[in-house]
């Protein structure tokens, strides 16, 4: 048995954990590349990463400085927007705090420790971080990546495979799929800031595995097939969807609530597994847009299955006064 609200918290904890992990990884990949490139070009590419992560508006609003490390700082340590590593870690911690009585103590402690470490980097202040030549944010990235790995480890090794686990795992896999599709979009088109195949694979933690199959200079099309359709690679969207389906099946007792999500996950998996992907990728923008919105709808369905039974609307008072024939607010 799990409270609907708790299921929702775990779903979001999973999503934010994956998000923190992915942003930290992307930033670390970008940082390595920056060191070997001209500053303007590096900044261009960093902007592209901001775009790929869907943070353009936040980036403009944050009035990010012009220093070479400002974009990295924006992605890592800036808690004024929800898309940074520090914000994602905080969201993981807040969501786990809500369910701290039902998760392994170590999971909570890892999340809390990571949060404390990230906060201390944040408290240094943006200007001071820039002065260190990005050193503080670079350390934060290392801390965050290590922290996320250890959180996944505790999650896999010590969480009971109950409904709570199903939601948290589903959250991670859904977020991973969504981000993979978004990152693939940033490899399309021409121009200095378009990410090449290797970069996309590095962003998605698939570089080593893909090199054996795709060689050293894979084209976008091959990378897209690999990241969308690979059957053994736990970073691929197909693989993730298969697992989401399994997790939703684990929720047998809540079958009614998750029925819509299960149907959608199945349909989407079949689309990737049996669809003529080569043909579909002939119009890559359209296909990625379709996948992106289908995944977003699936994530929304899973979320709805947790809140459908909890109180969404507001409670209002109703009164009747004598001699007046009408209710009034108090």
């Amino acid at each position: 048995m799990i409270l609907a609200r708790h299921a929702d918290s775990l779903l979001w904890a999973g999503r934010y954990l994956e998000r923190a992990d992915t942003i930290a990884r992307c930033v670390s990949v970008e940082t390595n590349a920056v060191m070997h490139r001209q500053a303007t070009e590096a900044r261009l590419a960093s902007r592209r990463l901001v775009q790929a992560l869907g943070l353009q508006d936040e980036f403009v609003a944050a009035q990010v400085g012009t220093g070479p490390y400002a974009v990295m700082d924006f992605l890592v340590s800036d808690d004024s927007h929800p898309g940074s590593v520090v914000s994602a870690v905080e969201a993981v911690r807040e969501n786990l705090r809500i369910v701290r009585d039902r998760i392994p103590v170590e999971l909570w402690e890892e999340a809390n420790s990571l949060h404390i470490l990230m906060q201390s980097a944040k408290s240094v202040g943006a200007a001071a971080r820039e002065q260190t030549g990005g050193e503080v944010s670079r350390m934060s990235v290392i801390t965050a990546r290590r922290g996320c790995r250890s959180l996944s480890g505790v999650m896999t090794e010590s969480m009971s495979r109950d409904e709570g686990y199903a939601f948290m795992e589903a959250g991670r896999l859904l977020e991973r799929s969504i981000l993979t599709v978004e990152l693939l979009k940033s490899g399309l088109g021409t121009g200095a800031d378009v990410f090449d195949g290797n970069r996309l694979l590095a962003f998605t933690h698939s570089l080593q595995a893909a090199r054996r199959e795709l060689g050293h200079s894979p084209q976008w099309h091959a990378v897209a097939k690999f990241l969308l359709q690979h059957e053994q690679m736990p970073r691929s969207v197909l693989w993730c969807l298969g697992r989401v389906e399994l997790r939703l099946e684990d929720l047998a007792a809540a079958a009614g609530a998750v029925a819509t999500a299960r149907r959608r996950a199945g349909a989407l998996r079949a689309h990737l597994e049996y669809g003529e992907l080569d043909e579909l990728l002939g119009q890559p923008e359209a296909e990625l847009a379709y996948l992106g919105s289908a995944l977003a709808e699936l994530a929304a369905d899973v979320h709805t299955s947790t809140v459908a039974r909890s109180s969404l609307a507001e409670v209002h008072a109703q009164f009747v006064r004598p001699g007046d024939g009408r209710g009034r607010p108090q």
């Binding site: 048995m1 799990i2 701290r100 420790s113 809540a254 609530a257």
Partner: protein, 489 residues
């Protein structure tokens, strides 16, 4: 080697560890010996271990400055507080007796005939004019009359070392989680101190509380009643404790919107549908419980909950309306209530208190107001208190005028010099004032949890022990009978 500062020779208060001549009391001999082997740096190192541990685990409380408050790490002092077995047995009996009588009083008011009022033990008007007197609680009966399942009774020791009851907390007493976490931290920081002592364990609290809550489940709940803890949410100062108790008891931690009432039965909203709830251990105030019957703007409660309680399908603990019995104005009558309901002499005396609505007591108090403590009944957390000996003539005259204008709102107490005990202040262990809050659990019967929360005022001379105002805490050891002999040798 750190020198433990003896109690000040001229100090009025009773020191827990040293007698008036500066000799260590036998109870504390072994622990004082051990601590004198640590230098300041070593003590600081161990303090760091505790601090880090609390921080990592997120053992915090919230201090409200801005609207949302700041999370602070729980403060624990290194030097433990010890209570001898024989002494504890006396406290235990006294607390058990007191809480039994208070539960009888609450049952008498809300579901009984008001016998104590009819017989003049407590004036009926005093009960009716109490802020904690909850008219909505009328007719809501509680199994075993356990209106107060969890009580926290604040004890202080006077200059003679006599334990006295300062206050009863019968609504939502908090602090039990810190008792257990303090013990864990102590064990980590001083793994070897246990060699000299046999201390009553504190880990059984979750089971004890769960058993008590199960025993007050409504009839028809079945063998395995469903218990939930109702928390206001993560912004509450004691959220850590709510989550801690849920984990220790293995029950769900819920917020108001997780519960729903259907035809006078309370249900839990789960992803599988609605599951009926039998017992709610709530940590929200009475007036927020149900927007239908209480404050209509409450976002924390459960609409229809009072109806379910009246229908007898769910038990809410602590029961509604307990505030009447821990009203500061009722406190002076508790010893008489013990005599009245139990026919026994009270084991634990009150701090001597005078009520201002009785002309004799008021006149007597007015004659020596400069030696007494004047407390407003409606305030908590130390606000509005006038300490006679520190007050100017003008302040005393004002207090007097206020008392005369509204005697119901004031009580006057004898000064109690809270006992002191060595506490880590900067680099030295110096005596600081402390109190003790033991927890009393009532289900089918009343039990006292060994020890309790010792709160200590970290500022020299201060009597304010509240953690929100810079107070600290101490691990509190109740020695097992054989342990005591060991400690004394």
């Amino acid at each position: 080697m750190a020198e433990l500062q003896r109690s000040d020779a001229d100090q009025l208060a009773y020191d827990e560890a040293f007698d008036r001549d500066g000799n260590v009391r036998p109870l504390y001999a072994a622990i004082v010996e051990r601590f004198s082997n640590f230098d300041a740096a070593e003590l600081r190192r161990r303090e760091g271990i505790i601090e880090e541990e609390f921080r990592r685990q997120g053992i915090t409380f919230t201090v409200y400055g801005d609207s949302q408050g700041t999370e602070r790490t729980w403060p624990m002092d290194l030097f433990p507080r010890l209570i001898a077995a024989t002494e504890w047995q006396e406290i235990e009996r006294g607390l058990s007796q007191r809480v039994t009588a208070l539960n009888r009083f609450l049952a008498d008011i809300y579901t009984g005939e008001g016998a104590a009022m009819a017989d003049g033990v407590v004036p009926a008007w005093l009960v009716q004019s109490s802020d904690g007197f909850e008219r909505n609680a009328f007719g809501v009966s509680v199994p075993h009359d356990a209106h107060c399942v969890i009580a926290g009774i604040d004890l202080v020791r006077d200059a003679e070392g006599q334990y006295r009851v300062l206050e009863d907390n019968l609504r939502n007493p908090s602090g039990i989680s810190y008792v257990i976490e303090n013990r864990a931290a102590m064990t980590r920081a001083f793994p070897r101190v246990w060699e000299d002592h046999t201390v009553e364990p504190v880990g059984q609290y979750g089971r004890m509380l769960r058993t008590a809550l199960e025993s007050v489940a409504p009839t028809g709940a079945g063998d395995k009643p469903l218990i939930v803890i109702l928390t206001p949410g993560i912004y509450n100062s004691a959220y850590f404790e709510h989550a801690f108790l849920a984990r220790e008891m293995g029950v769900e931690l819920v917020e108001g919107p997780d519960l729903v009432v259907d035809e006078h039965v309370v249900y839990l909203r789960t992803i599988e549908g609605l599951v009926p709830v039998d017992v709610i251990y709530r940590r929200i105030d009475d007036t927020f419980l149900d927007p239908v019957s209480f404050r209509p703007d409450s976002t924390l409660g459960v609409p229809g909950l009072l109806g379910a309680m009246r229908a007898g399908t769910v038990t809410v603990c602590n029961a509604v309306g307990n505030g009447v019995a821990d009203d500061k104005a009722i406190h002076p009558y508790v010893t008489d209530l013990i005599r009245y309901y139990l026919g026994e002499e009270p084991i634990l005396p009150n701090v001597e208190t005078y009520v201002m609505w009785e002309p004799d007591q008021r006149e007597a108090a007015f004659e020596r107001l400069d030696e007494l403590v004047i407390k407003p009944v409606g305030e908590s957390g130390g606000y509005g208190i006038v300490i006679g000996r520190n007050a100017t003539d003008e302040e005393l005259a004002n207090a007097r005028a206020e008392i005369e204008a509204d005697p119901r709102n004031w009580v006057v107490q004898e000064v109690v010099e809270l006992s002191t005990l060595a506490s880590m202040c900067d680099d030295v262990l110096e005596p600081r004032h402390l109190d003790l809050r033991p927890f009393v659990i009532t289900g089918e019967r009343t039990q006292v949890f060994p020890g309790g929360l010792t709160r200590v005022a970290m500022r020299k001379g201060s009597l304010i022990v509240n953690s929100s105002q810079g107070g600290g805490s101490k691990d509190t050891w109740v020695l097992a009978p054989q342990g005591e002999t060991q400690a004394a040798t």
